[in-house]
Symmetry: C2
Subunit: 394 residues, 2 copies
Amino acid sequence: MADTKVYRASTTAPVNIAVVKYWGKRDAKLNLPTNSSLSVTLSQSDLRTLTTASCSALFPASEGDSLLLNGAPSDVSGARTQACFRELRARRAALEGADPALPKLSTLPLRLVSENNFPTAAGLASSAAGFAAFVRAIADLYELPASPSELSLIARQGSGSACRSLFGGYVAWRMGAREDGGDSMADQVAEASHWPEMRALILVASAAKKGVSSTSGMQQTVATSGLFKERIATVVPANMAAMEKAIAERDFEVFGEVTMRDSNSFHATCADTYPPIFYMNDVSRAAIRAVEAINAAAGRTVAAYTFDAGPNAVIYYLEKDAEAVVGTFYHALGGVGGWKTGAVEGLKQLVALEDGVRGLLQAGVSRAIMTGVGEGPIKTDEYLVAEDGSPAKR
Amino acid sequence: MADTKVYRASTTAPVNIAVVKYWGKRDAKLNLPTNSSLSVTLSQSDLRTLTTASCSALFPASEGDSLLLNGAPSDVSGARTQACFRELRARRAALEGADPALPKLSTLPLRLVSENNFPTAAGLASSAAGFAAFVRAIADLYELPASPSELSLIARQGSGSACRSLFGGYVAWRMGAREDGGDSMADQVAEASHWPEMRALILVASAAKKGVSSTSGMQQTVATSGLFKERIATVVPANMAAMEKAIAERDFEVFGEVTMRDSNSFHATCADTYPPIFYMNDVSRAAIRAVEAINAAAGRTVAAYTFDAGPNAVIYYLEKDAEAVVGTFYHALGGVGGWKTGAVEGLKQLVALEDGVRGLLQAGVSRAIMTGVGEGPIKTDEYLVAEDGSPAKR
């Protein structure tokens, strides 16, 4: 009799925010980077993507593979998404070839449903969590024996930084040397439990969306910036080495300085692109001045800013310095939503930010997100596809 | 009988705005730069410093040398100002030694009075015009046979970019190789008459004054930017060569692109400084987007932006493209003062700037200055010191 079962697997995957930035591809088709990068995986209790992968002979082949993202059908015909489907199916097909008893899932249409627990509009790196969950969920559905590093090779082809979201804690993406990208994958520098006190305060800037997409932006930088080659030849390798040592030694002073310097270096090469790319705005710069004021008042580096391809500030700090960092921003931005009431109540501020800085932040920050270092993808029995194969009622 | 004459000489000197930027000293004491630079001298009918140098046995030696700048006594005890006095006196003393008939002006106190015809608050490079006029006026008072290039050696020690204001037109400051700086001087790449159609529109940003002085800022960049050495080793030499060729061939397309790229490169190294230096703000970036929109609408490079150590935009263009450039900004910024009524009346706009860009410009630009390429220092019989040695009534 025909197999009418709906096979399902669900996973959650985290956002990661790089402290040594990925910017520049040496191979755009394979998503091979011009340099290695390193990130902190953020807690999924605050920011995560939940994805259910399902397949069934009941799904009409005519519909092909499909993805419902935050309730809306999402195009899966893009080369990068197709590459992920292809790689995962090939691995499943190999298993099926080796063990005829296995159901032929590789031949069935895939139905994926995915939801973020944070507004995509926030301009956070949702594609990283999205592709990591996408790959992990299908790998679980197919019961692939692949390690996270092997899966990171696949996720990388969907979205470069996604390869880092297959691990928790502190994660490096090694650029690799092979032309086919076979050695361009992520590995875990340290477990979250190695340095669990790491926290991140995200100041979401109420800015219009990006003018330039990251993909086209980074290739313009590679092609036109006269300073970029120095960044990848000298600056990043030094930052990677210093950052791995700082994490191994739990040295926040070094971790913080390298984080800030690498963010500055990345945005400098964007500004040196022709035509110039500006992701930071006056609100972003006010956040930098605020962090500098906090560190000056503390007499040491207790806060470290970093900015991705957008104006949001991500500020790393250690739990013990919450009052200096969160307290100061909370007092300047109390009116803004997103603070964890229990965590900020009673916090004093270390320093009163100067009016110009506070004014820019109050006018330009729409939301605060308090989070910290967290775990990698987690298998869950919460399904976004019902047993009958229909998208679950929410 | 004693010589009671008041010896006087007056000169005006221009502002210059670099198209290949000076940023970084290899010797802070001698003001020796890490790279060559190139600028356009702007017309003194719009922006100039008028300086009268005088000396007399009537001036009490106890008062020593003095400078009245824009009506206020200005400190002349700084090492840089003292270096200029010393160099000029030494040359006068040599003349006096060779010709005993000459009055011993080198032994007399100097009284200088200087006035700008533009608000210093505008954040324009007033120190360049100021030191150029200072040196030229004293050289004239002393009747030194020194060439402009020789005087540029002296002015350079007062303010690096001042050495370029001793010439009109298109001026290069050659970094030189000698340790004593004897070959770090300016020369004229082309007379203003070689390419007289060059115009500049300056958008004065209503910003607070600079947070970081250029002098300390550039040394922080040299010390901390990982990208800076690539700028001086590769980027600037290529820009200097391309710019001299573009000027020789009156090729605005190349002149404009190199101008914009070099400004971007300079500000990129500022952003890569630790802690980062930001001279441009959202208003500056809006001016860049406006220039890009104008060039896109024109289908060629008709406008080129450049930014010094502040948020003001200087936009170079050719007279024939005044409607495309000035017309567009005038229609977006009509309410702002400083436009040359005769020159803007009847100008249409080439393109309507998008609301976001226009809004930032309207909120952030306080004044427009319309000028163009101009001549070097000009001897004048307008004196700011009366025949009796007192500051002239204005």
